[in-house]
């Protein structure tokens, strides 16, 4: 090796679309390897959604069933599971922030930034691997829900489409959390950000109860915020149009969810890339 060998080094530059896709694939695989090789962490991350399904079915079931639309077939678990699919797609973003903060702390981001690779690859690789993890979480939730009596009221296709819409929203949200992770930089601060932003957003929504049951000052926000829109879209696809508040259509809610997802992604990808380029540790 030497100067001559360096010159002959087959580095593809500048990075085109193919190179970008490859860099993203390399980083996605790296993150998934982390996930698979830390089975304890993965299992722990699957405990919370399962506990939520079991706990809220038991706690709220009796009280709320009377307020549910007939599309829930009189069972709270039918109402709850589609909502929780939306909520845990949202919670998946916490992993994005934590993962990036960890990569920053360990110096991995420094190395990546010094390599002739596509700038967006570290972020896209992170969000995509988290999407895979969310897909696994949502699948498990469906199985656990099924075991305690959840049944989709449309068909399997509706169930899959509902899960897909939840994941699309979750993916967009993970870009928000990518920005958060790059800005706050420590696991503790990520935790705080999750409690301050993600929990209120997840709970003041139609995930657990119809928003009409909430106080009037909260209703305008709770009814229109993106998690409610997503929960409605998922419910519409899984339980049928009867599960939606009067005046809403399944297609309308799905369209609105995808619009939210697109807008959030479009706003946050440039912000995240900017934060990534400016990480000065």
């Amino acid at each position: 090796m030497g100067a001559a060998a360096s010159a002959a080094c087959p580095v593809v530059y500048p990075p085109g679309l193919r190179r970008t896709a490859r860099d993203i694939a390399v980083l996605t695989r790296r993150n998934l390897r982390h996930t698979v090789r830390l089975p304890g962490v993965l299992l722990l991350s699957l405990v919370m959604p399962v506990v939520f399904i079991l706990m809220f079915t038991a706690v709220f079931g009796g009280a709320v069933e009377a307020a549910l639309p007939p599309a829930a077939a009189g069972k709270y678990v039918n109402w709850l599971v589609p909502g929780l699919l939306a909520q845990f797609a949202l919670f998946g973003g916490a992993g994005t922030a934590a993962g990036l903060a960890d990569d920053l702390a360990k110096g991995s981001i420094d190395r990546f930034r010094s390599l002739p690779m596509t700038r967006v690859a570290v972020l896209a690789g992170r969000t995509l691997s988290d999407l895979c993890r969310s897909a696994l979480t949502l699948m498990l939730m469906a199985v656990v829900g099924f075991a305690i009596g959840f049944r989709w009221q449309t068909d399997l296709l509706g169930m899959l489409a509902g899960t897909g819409v939840a994941l699309a929203f979750g993916y967009a949200w993970s870009w928000v959390m990518a920005v958060v992770g790059l800005l706050v930089r420590t696991a503790e601060a990520v935790q705080a950000a999750v409690y301050i932003v993600v929990f209120p957003l997840g709970f003041t929504s139609a995930v657990f109860v119809p928003t009409q049951t909430m106080p009037t000052w909260l209703q305008p926000f709770a009814t229109h915020q993106p998690v409610t829109v997503t929960a409605n879209a998922v419910r519409g696809l899984i339980l049928g149009p009867g599960a939606l508040p009067a005046g809403q259509t399944v297609a309308g809610q799905v369209g609105l969810t995808l619009l939210w997802a697109t807008a959030i992604t479009a706003a946050c990808v440039p912000l995240a890339v900017r934060a990534y380029r400016r990480t000065v540790t």
Partner: protein, 321 residues
């Protein structure tokens, strides 16, 4: 000595809060050498490495690596460099092989080429046997070597090593030195930072002493030593006479340096005549040294003398820093 492969001119970097980490630094690193940046914590060494590795924007001046302007075309610079950081940035949950192969792919190598070169660098660095173990099972020295391997897989023209042996046991340090020296034999230029004077002295072809973001002086280890004179007088006195000794020698213009060990070191530009003069001054002050002798200066003393003079701060505080 080849053409300069790194050219830094009047580089200024001010951090938020006004800390001027680089204060008009100018430097030439010839191709194919091991070049050490030597200085205390906060001297600006790491900042310079981070600027050259395109990790940090700078405020003024220019920096070129292999003829490419770091400010104007950072993306092209990245294809030419390798970086191994202060905290070995290797992935704990990947194997050694996966770590290096990933970096190879991110350099834009084909999968086949990345695999081939990964084997090659792991072999060179003595990690083939451990290649398929997760990195979390590696020792500190092995992690550093793996980090080095990862920085080499793209066959960079220049590699930056930020404190490559900090926190490594002495045996691993010698191993790393041997590896780094081999790199240069193979044509790579190495720019490293170190706080260890011995490391700079034994490893580097040329040394730049940096303090407060400025170049204090530059040259081979021997050239630097010549700057403080060919020899020093080292003496010891009872503790109660120490302050008086320093004062007496300072008054005589001898520029003594007190050491934590209790020894007092005085530059001896005139060799034996300087020794004689020190003895005379001590006698005049009524101080009897317990031991006294003439010896070659260490790089440590060179460093303290140079940074002390250049910055106008007392030499003792430079030692403490």
């Amino acid at each position: 000595m080849g053409e300069p492969i790194i050219e830094v001119d009047g580089l200024v970097k001010t951090f938020r809060g006004g800390m001027r980490a680089l204060d008009g630094l100018t430097l030439r690193v010839p191709a194919g050498v091991i070049y050490a940046l030597l200085g205390p914590n906060g001297a600006g060494k790491t900042t310079l490495i981070r600027v050259l590795a395109t990790l940090l924007p700078f405020d003024q001046g220019t920096a070129c690596v292999a003829g490419v302007d770091v400010g104007r075309d950072p993306a092209a610079v990245r294809a030419l460099i390798g970086l191994a950081g202060q905290y070995a940035a290797v992935d704990d949950y990947l194997t050694g092989r996966e770590n290096v192969e990933m970096v190879g792919l991110l350099y834009g190598l084909t999968r086949r080429e990345a695999r081939r070169r990964t084997y090659e660098v792991l072999d060179r660095i003595g990690l083939v046997d451990a290649a398929d173990r997760p990195v979390r099972t590696y020792s500190g020295g092995m992690r550093r070597r793996l980090d080095l391997a990862a920085s080499l897989v793209g066959r960079p023209a220049v590699i930056f090593l930020d404190e490559p042996t900090t926190g490594v046991d002495p045996a691993s340090r010698r191993e790393l030195w041997a590896l780094i020296r081999e790199l240069v034999g193979a044509g790579t230029t190495v720019l490293l930072t170190t706080q260890y004077l011995e490391e700079a002295d034994r490893l580097a072809d040329r040394i730049a002493v940096i303090d407060h973001g400025r170049l204090v002086c530059e040259g081979t280890g021997d050239q630097l030593k010549d700057q403080v004179g060919a020899a020093v007088v080292e003496l010891s006195v009872p503790d109660i006479d120490r302050a008086r000794t320093l004062a007496a020698l300072t008054d005589a213009g001898a520029d003594p340096h007190g050491r934590d060990s209790g020894a007092v070191v005085v530059p001896a530009p005139l060799g034996a005549r300087s020794l004689h003069r020190v003895l005379r001054e001590l006698e005049a002050a009524g101080i009897a040294p317990e031991t006294i002798g003439l010896r070659k200066p260490t790089l440590d003393e060179v460093f303290l003398t140079l940074t002390g003079h250049a910055t106008g701060t007392p030499v003792l505080s430079a030692k403490a820093a």
